[in-house]
């Protein structure tokens, strides 16, 4: 183990020597999502600042688990969703407060920056600023499943073994909204929230006959939709737009109950060693021309002011088709998740996955 680590370190040192360029600066260790740090952007950043970037791909739960395991060390910058900062921070203390003076606030869409700051404030200190946002909704093969307009339609007749969703919290939230409930309003009331989730759990259990598989990674899901084995799924907008580019019948549909809006943030781990690099990366990424490129790579929109205007036509057009103004107004933005809520959801999800 030690040996291997030593070898790795040695190899890393050699590589650094060969590249020579940013040899004096520490690398920035970035914990992020797939497509959020495309290679050309990383290269440009390194060229400008002399700071190399080591990218590790992850998702919300793994980010929290990884940082928790190391008590906030091992990475210099992470990108959790804005609603997933408060609880874990209270519970595990894995992030450090942001020094907002180091961040060029004028580069952000002001409303989004304020909302994120508010949601990620713990004990008066801000822990996150927004980067990329998008929605969860329905990806539908409009030819094979023309009637799917809302989350609950996934459980409709005639779709046996043909739909998919994740066994994760967005699914519970979505089906709660689809059933006319407001889960966000019950965040503060654990008993009410538990009852609500039990109800949603029962709905989903009854829906299982329609589920082909619970998707985890987006690639098997997209493959299923492409082949027609899956005709409708609850998924991210970006996946739907990607498929729409290949197969026009497949569309991202903003559900009647409202798409679920998420914002992925920048947050600095408690024991990050390269805050300078982290702030440099944040400011670099929020530059409109950079943000536009990242948006194209991720297939989503960013919180950068002015990047929208630079976004290429196709994505914009797809967005407009999926989101008429009413649908945009109907997006349910996740409020911060208080600690304890995920335990309630977890059990419902476990039971859904295991039970029969």
């Amino acid at each position: 183990m030690t040996n291997r680590r030593f070898n790795l370190a040695l190899a890393g040192a050699l590589a650094a020597l060969c590249l020579a360029t940013g040899a004096e600066a520490q690398p920035l260790r970035l914990l992020t999502w797939a497509d959020y740090a495309p290679k050309d952007i990383v290269d440009q950043f390194t060229k400008e600042t002399g700071i190399a970037v080591e990218v590790t791909l992850s998702n919300n739960e793994e980010m929290i688990s990884k940082l928790r395991a190391t008590q906030g060390s091992g990475f210099d910058l992470a990108q959790p969703s804005q609603d997933r900062i408060l609880g874990p921070q209270q519970e595990f203390g894995i992030y450090k407060p942001l020094d907002l003076a180091q961040i060029k606030g004028e580069q952000f869409i002001a409303s989004m920056l304020e909302a994120t700051k508010k949601n990620t404030t713990v004990a008066g200190k801000v822990y996150g600023v927004p980067h990329i946002w998008g929605t969860d909704g329905l990806v539908v093969n409009t030819k094979l499943a023309p009637n799917v307009k809302d989350y609950s339609d996934l459980c409709g007749a005639g779709l046996e073994n043909k739909v998919s969703f994740r066994t994760k919290r967005p699914t519970l939230i979505a089906f709660a909204f689809a059933a006319g409930m407001d889960p966000f309003a019950s965040y503060g009331n654990k008993a009410a929230y538990t009852a609500m989730m039990e109800k949603v759990g029962a709905t989903l259990a009854a829906c299982k006959k329609n589920v082909k598989f619970f998707w985890e990674g987006k690639d098997p899901l997209l493959a299923g939709l492409r082949s027609g084995e899956i005709v409708a799924a609850m998924a991210w907008d970006t996946g739907g737009w990607k498929l729409n580019g290949e197969l026009p019948d497949i569309k991202f549909v903003a559900p009647k109950a409202g798409a679920l809006g998420w914002i992925d943030t920048f947050a600095i781990p408690a024991r990050g060693r390269n805050d300078k690099g982290a702030y440099a990366w944040i400011n670099f990424n929020m530059r409109p021309e950079i943000a536009a490129k990242v948006a194209a790579s991720a297939g989503n929109f960013t919180a950068s002011k002015g990047a929208d205007a630079l976004t290429q036509g196709k994505l914009k057009q797809q967005f407009q088709e999926s989101f008429p103004q009413a649908a945009i107004d109907n997006i349910k933005w996740y409020p911060a998740v208080p600690a304890g809520i995920e335990d309630i959801e977890g059990k419902v999800l476990d039971r859904l996955k295991a039970g029969s």
Binding site: E61, E62, E216, E229, G346, S356
Partner: protein, 287 residues
């Protein structure tokens, strides 16, 4: 002189002690301690049995636990039944180069990672996959057949993954079987079943036990195969552990589950050894 010998002795003892201590005992002790802590508030934990009580109270958890145990025993049994003729052929019938080639064929799938192997099965078994297409082409099925996401697919994948670990100890054990014993078995009036049951199987017992222990342990602790091939109704206990540790951030509960899995697999191995009348130490020496 005495001092030097003493030093050498302690130095030689150091690696196994470090190995056992750092990689086996310390992590398990830590897991055990963790499993007895309950959360009473943010960043506040107390000693308690809540995690184990939770396991007992929640049918979801012990059902998954029982399901994992039963299916693992089943997988081990099927692997044994499939591997035995293969091993017998390799050990007793194949000669020279054929033997090496057959062994290599068994080994070949293991050059790819478990993930790749499992994805291979997914490609074969999915509704638009090869098997489904073949069934339709031959007229055995009217429409597309979904062979994935059920317990059968999980068992298939696990048996496939365990096969090599069963074949190797079996070949080892059967290699030493003098073929004249088999002939004597027939000569004295035994049927094929008699010879198999009374002569070949007892001879191969150390290999059977060693292979079964390894396959069972690998199966119980497998994660990728049940997660990918499994159905929407089927959860493996390791998935529960993963869920507790990674998606629920509930380490104490995950630790309790981990410890329970350890107890479960040890208990089943112990029962297996008891039932077959084999000693663990003897098995490890001979196998």
């Amino acid at each position: 002189m005495m001092r030097a010998r003493g030093l050498a002795f302690w130095l030689l003892l150091l690696p196994p002690v470090l190995w056992l201590g750092l990689l086996v005992i310390v992590p398990h002790v830590e897991i055990a301690v963790l499993s007895f802590s309950e959360r009473v508030g943010p960043r506040l934990y107390e000693f308690g049995f809540a995690n184990y009580l939770e396991f007992l109270k929640e049918p979801l958890y012990w059902r998954t636990y029982a399901r994992t145990a039963i299916m693992s025993v089943l997988v081990t049994a099927i692997t044994l039944v499939v591997a035995f003729p293969v091993a017998f052929y390799i050990a007793k019938a194949a000669q020279g180069a054929t033997k090496a080639v057959l062994f290599l064929l068994c080994l070949l799938p293991f050059w790819a990672s478990e993930l790749v192997r499992t994805l291979g099965w997914m490609i074969l078994l999915r509704e638009t996959g090869l098997v489904s297409a073949l069934l339709q082409a031959t007229g055995l099925a009217a429409g597309p057949v979904e062979l994935l996401y059920n317990d059968g697919a999980v068992i298939l994948g696990l048996v496939y993954g365990g096969l090599l670990f069963m074949v190797v100890p079996l070949v080892n054990a059967l290699d030493s079987l003098d073929f004249s014993l088999v002939e004597a078995g027939f000569d004295l009036g035994g049927s094929r079943i008699d010879v198999l049951r009374r002569i070949v199987v007892p001879h191969a017992m150390p290999g059977i036990v060693a292979g079964s222990i390894v396959v069972f342990m690998l199966t119980v602790g497998n994660f990728v195969t049940p997660a990918l091939l499994g159905g929407k109704n089927g959860l493996w206990f390791t998935e529960q552990i993963y869920a507790q540790f990674i998606t629920r951030f509930n380490w104490p509960q995950g630790a309790a589950f981990g410890l329970l899995l350890l107890v479960l697999s040890s208990a089943i191995v112990w029962i297996g050894l008891r039932l077959t009348g084999q000693g663990f130490g003897e098995t490890m020496r001979r196998g």
